[in-house]
């Protein structure tokens, strides 16, 4: 082994370049070890102790950069020195002040080696291609686009899995990575609860509940809505669980999904045993038995999922307030006997699902555009019937329009329509705050709420409107202002998605039994 050194007089490199030089020098063929440091006395002292201090290094000053290379026997020293010089001379990437926009992911990634994640929101026809480019360039991906063929999703996720990268989506609307909310997300406190979610608003709701309970989120990994289907097989959720299991900042893991394919559910639950930390599972309509048998903690609702996670990982004594049953009685007393039905008009898919499932439990006459039972499925144009729960974010409604979180017009029209129906007792609505959402979802709905109430009053009925605002005190606009505006308009405000479902169910029970 022989020591060779290069001393660069008064040469300064960015510390990141310095590290890159050091790493690359260590990777050169024939290099046993390489060391890059400034020529201070102490650093020279260490080299002296190791017997590596050549006269050239001895002469290096404070402002000089030392590159010390220990070469293997038989290595071509001259070639090594040339290679080291090349590393030192590599120029910074091109780019003038006026020209910092890039056209392609590859060019952006090459120009900025620190880039680590691509958010892709392009037409589904091109989305797969862009996602593949991002993965090929070593970037993690959040694929917001929908309409990506399922075969393409499987191929992308397999590719990402092989590379050890995250492939969130397609149709992934929410993630929180390193405390930065991506796409649609709420401002929540950083903390130690890790979430892997196959549903966007479900993930938002759980993160907001965690925040409200005083805890925070370490990472929220969105998988895309189809991840737990038979075809995709939960690739991303399994990788997500493993990532959070390995993350020292995560103390407890929460899984959120709509009902998964049974075989996939089994595969995902099997990961719990090796996670090494508590795992809370909320699969809408899922079975407690399977979760418990797998060693997980079963959650029956988003509220329950957040509560169990915070108790397991952060604060064992945290509690939530129970449903305000007095308010249910008050409302029921105002209704006439023919007002028998609940109508839910939702922006958030999981919020709609959660309220609908609360009703289904009772065996009620429940209709929806997202009903599993085809007999009771409604189209976007069908009038409401019985208890109706509509997810305005679903494809039948969005078809070509912006998401209702951004463009509320369809839902506003429906609210007025429901007010005219004498059988309607309660209209339930959600209001989603946060990044990517409407800047004032309550404000934009208030005129329609007033109009709806007036229509009912003119017809001699009381129409109760129940509103839930999904958001935190850190969101813009802040939660408290939106809640206050709803209350001022005579809206009953619920405090979680779960409570919203409970309220709807309690009212339905009252009016049907009345």
């Amino acid at each position: 082994m022989s020591t060779t050194a290069v001393v660069k007089k008064n040469t300064y490199f960015d510390s990141v370049s310095l590290m890159a030089i050091s790493t690359k020098a260590n990777g050169l063929d024939g290099v046993e070890q390489a060391f890059v440091a400034m020529g201070t006395e102490m650093n020279k002292g260490v080299l002296g102790n190791l017997g590596l201090l050549t006269p050239e290094l001895e002469a290096a000053g404070n402002g000089d950069l030392m590159v010390v290379v220990d070469a293997a026997d038989g290595a071509d020293i001259d070639a090594l020195l040339v290679a080291v010089e090349e590393l030192l001379q590599r120029k910074s990437p091109a780019g003038g002040e006026a020209a910092v926009t890039h056209r392609t992911i590859a060019a952006a990634a090459q120009d900025n080696p620190a880039a680590n994640l691509a958010v892709i929101a392009v037409n589904g026809a091109y989305a797969g291609r862009e996602a593949r480019k991002a993965l090929d360039n070593g970037l993690h991906v959040l694929l917001f686009s929908d309409n990506v063929p399922v075969e393409e999703e499987v191929a992308l996720k397999q590719l990402a899995h092989d590379k050890g990268l995250l492939m969130m989506g397609p149709d992934c609307g929410t993630a929180i990575i390193n405390n930065v909310a991506l796409c649609f997300g709420n401002a929540v406190r950083p903390g130690s609860v890790g979430v892997v979610a196959a549903s966007g608003t479900g993930a938002q709701e759980v993160s907001v509940r965690i925040h409200t309970l005083g805890a925070g989120v370490s990472q929220l990994i969105g998988t895309g809505g189809r991840d737990l289907s038979e075809e995709v097989g939960g690739i991303m959720m399994i990788d997500g669980i493993r990532a959070l299991a390995a993350d020292p900042a995560t103390s407890v893991i929460v899984l959120v999904s709509k009902p998964p394919a049974p075989a996939v559910e089994k595969k995902v639950l099997a990961e719990i045993a090796t996670a090494g930390k508590p795992v809370v599972v909320y699969f809408v309509g899922g079975s407690e038995e399977a979760v418990v048998a797998a060693g997980g903690h079963f959650a029956a609702s988003t509220q329950d999922a957040a509560l169990k996670a915070v108790r397991l990982g952060v604060d064992p004594d945290v509690t939530v307030e129970p449903l305000d049953t007095a308010r249910v009685d008050e409302v029921a007393a105002l209704l006439s006997p023919e007002q028998r039905y609940v109508r839910g008009l939702f922006c958030g898919g999981t919020l709609c699902d959660e309220s609908m499932y609360a009703m289904l439990d009772l065996g009620h006459d429940v209709w929806s555009n997202i009903q599993k039972d085809p007999e009771r499925r409604l189209g976007a144009d069908s009038p409401s019937t019985g208890h109706t729960f509509l997810d305005f974010g679903d494809d039948d409604f969005t078809n070509g329009r912006p998401h209702p979180m951004i463009d509320p017009s369809l839902r506003l029209a429906r609210l007025v329509e429901e007010a005219m129906d004498p059988e309607v007792a309660v209209v339930v609505m959600d209001f989603v705050l946060g990044f990517g959402a409407h800047e004032d979802p309550v404000g934009v709905t208030l005129p329609a709420i007033e109009q709806a109430k007036r229509i009912a009053a003119d017809a001699g009925r009381h129409l109760e409107i129940v509103g839930y605002v999904l958001g935190t005190d850190l969101d813009t606009p802040v939660l408290a202002d939106q809640v206050a505006a709803l209350k001022a308009a005579g809206v009953t405000v619920t405090r979680s998605s779960t409570e919203t479902g409970q309220f709807a169910r309690a009212i339905a029970r009252k009016v049907t039994h009345a």
């Binding site: 790493t23 260590n26 990777g27 046993e32 070890q33 120029k91 910074s92 091109a94 780019g95 003038g96 002040e97 006026a98 020209a99 926009t101 890039h102 056209r103 392609t104 992911i105 060019a107 952006a108 990634a109 900025n112 620190a114 880039a115 680590n116 994640l117 691509a118 958010v119 892709i120 929101a121 392009v122 037409n123 091109y126 291609r129 862009e130 991002a134 070593g138 970037l139 993690h140 917001f144 590379k163 050890g164 990268l165 995250l166 990575i177 390193n178 405390n179 930065v180 909310a181 991506l182 796409c183 401002a187 990472q219 990788d239 990532a243 390995a246 993350d247 900042a249 990044f435 990517g436």
Partner: protein
């Protein structure tokens, strides 16, 4: 010993989030507001969103195909950069150009028939026929041109390039540029200087008289001078000219001085009378453009050496005939042209002319951009930005943007303003379509009618169709 690879997800969690945002600009603000670094792309669908183009790009992206292409492209740019074109002499086209005959007229761009030629090219053809004595006047020349007795052929198919109309006839004197590294030779005509010239479509008596003088005095004297002085290293001279503020397509002031400096001692030693020598030196001094064709031949010599590498998606020719723009690609050997309509050139016009007077993009001079200078090296020539109607920042932007559609930087020809970055080299058909960035070309504007000449200068781009057709042909050839 190298450091062990760490897990990419752990790395992500331990780093600052740094996002590349594609498609929805509104996410940019949200992410930036949370303190993370975000780069939002100026994204357009690849291949203009045309399914058949995307299919071709996807076929070329298949891993095993892409690997072959990368290797072939690396070889192509290596050959371009390593080529050392030397100006070795001058000679009459009939004597030096392969396939030249007394009744052949070479023209710029892809193949075209007389009846479809643009006004400027028709003007140049008839002028050349009169100059060669094949017709008594322009009217007779037009009849002859239409008769089928004249062979029209693209310069590019005869190892030549031709500026503007590119019209080259048997007795015109040509540069002879030999590629020392790979042994091939390229040719091009002499600059006529001025604005009212044959190559721009002008053809009156003054134009013909100048051509006669060039044939009888300028050409032979240059030929003799080269025999006295010996070969000149054009790549070295090009590199110097770029350092002196030329981009060597529309600005040639430094290059012309360098070339004249190299030729002057030998010109003085030729056997011509002093008044002829003065005429020649005055002629060279009369326009900065004198070395323009020289750089074209230099580029042609290098790019021909990179043509015909199986699997390469590097463009080796961009040329226009005033009607169509044609490209040739290294991996599709021989004379396979992929064409689209020639475009308007946008830029300042000489006093008295309006945009509607301008002919469409014409000439083989885009060989300079194909090599990596001209519009690609705009940042080397800040003085030119006024001519092409831009700012210095935009000029830098052009070079940077061309970096996104090329394969490598040519270390032998560098740009001081960009920290001596090499010129962007090896236009990749895949990258052009993938990014939607078209090559930028600096060029002159000829009048659309025959007989008038140059009326301005500006910037233009190739039609995207040419690259789309090339991509499809490449995909077919590689699968």
């Amino acid at each position: 010993m190298s450091n062990p690879m760490t897990n990419p997800v752990s790395n992500l969690f331990a780093s600052d989030l740094d996002v590349v945002n594609v498609g929805l600009a509104m996410f940019d603000e949200d992410i930036a507001a949370q303190g993370a670094h975000v780069t939002t792309l100026d994204w357009t669908p690849p291949g203009g969103g045309k399914p058949e183009v995307i299919a071709a790009l996807d076929a070329l992206d298949a891993p095993e195909v892409a690997e072959r292409i990368e290797a072939a492209n690396a070889l192509a740019v290596e050959r371009i950069a390593n080529s050392q074109p030397m100006l070795t002499g001058f000679g009459r086209a009939l004597d030096v150009v392969p396939g030249m005959t007394p009744t052949t007229i070479l023209h710029s761009g892809p193949p075209i028939t007389w009846d479809r030629m643009a006004g400027a090219m028709k003007g140049a053809v008839t002028g050349a026929l009169v100059f060669e004595g094949l017709a008594a006047d322009l009217d007779e020349a037009a009849v002859l041109a239409a008769s089928g007795e004249i062979t029209f052929s693209p310069c590019h198919e005869h190892d030549c390039v031709g500026s503007m109309a590119g019209v080259t006839s048997a007795s015109m004197y040509m540069h002879v540029v030999r590629n020392e590294t790979y042994g091939n030779t390229a040719y091009t005509n002499l600059s006529e200087q001025m604005a009212k010239i044959l190559r721009m479509g002008a053809n009156d008596d003054s134009v013909i008289e100048r051509l006669v003088w060039m044939r009888d005095v300028l050409g032979p004297m240059l030929k003799e001078a080269m025999e006295i002085g010996g070969p000149i290293d054009l790549r070295l001279m090009l590199a110097q000219a770029l350092h002196m503020g030329d981009e060597c397509h529309n600005r040639n002031i430094a290059g012309t001085l360098l070339l004249q400096q190299a030729l002057a001692p030998s010109l003085l030693q030729t056997s011509f009378p002093v008044e002829h020598k003065k005429e020649v030196l005055d002629f060279i001094a009369s326009s900065d453009y004198f070395s323009g064709p020289t750089w074209m031949a230099m580029a042609k010599a290098a790019l021909d050496a990179a043509h015909g590498i199986e699997g390469s998606t590097v463009v080796t020719t961009m040329a226009r005939n005033g009607v169509e723009f044609g490209v040739r690609v290294s991996g599709l050997a021989g004379d396979q042209w992929f064409t689209g309509p020639a475009q308007q050139v946008i830029g300042p016009m000489f006093a008295g002319y309006k945009p509607e007077d301008s002919g469409l993009d014409i000439g083989d001079s885009a060989i300079t951009e194909t090599y990596g200078f001209g519009g690609f090296a705009m940042s080397a020539a800040p003085a030119i930005v006024a001519l092409v109607g831009g700012t210095v920042q935009e000029a830098i932007g052009f070079t940077r943007e061309m970096g996104e559609i090329t394969t490598a930087q040519n270390p032998n020809v560098t740009i001081p303003m960009l920290d001596f970055q090499g010129i962007p080299t090896g236009i990749d058909v895949r990258k052009v379509l993938g990014t939607g960035i078209l090559p930028v070309i600096n060029t002159a504007i000829a009048h659309k009618e025959a007989g008038i000449g140059m009326i301005g200068a500006g910037i233009t781009h190739p039609p995207v169709e040419a690259f789309e057709k090339a991509a499809k042909a490449l995909a077919d050839s590689l699968i």
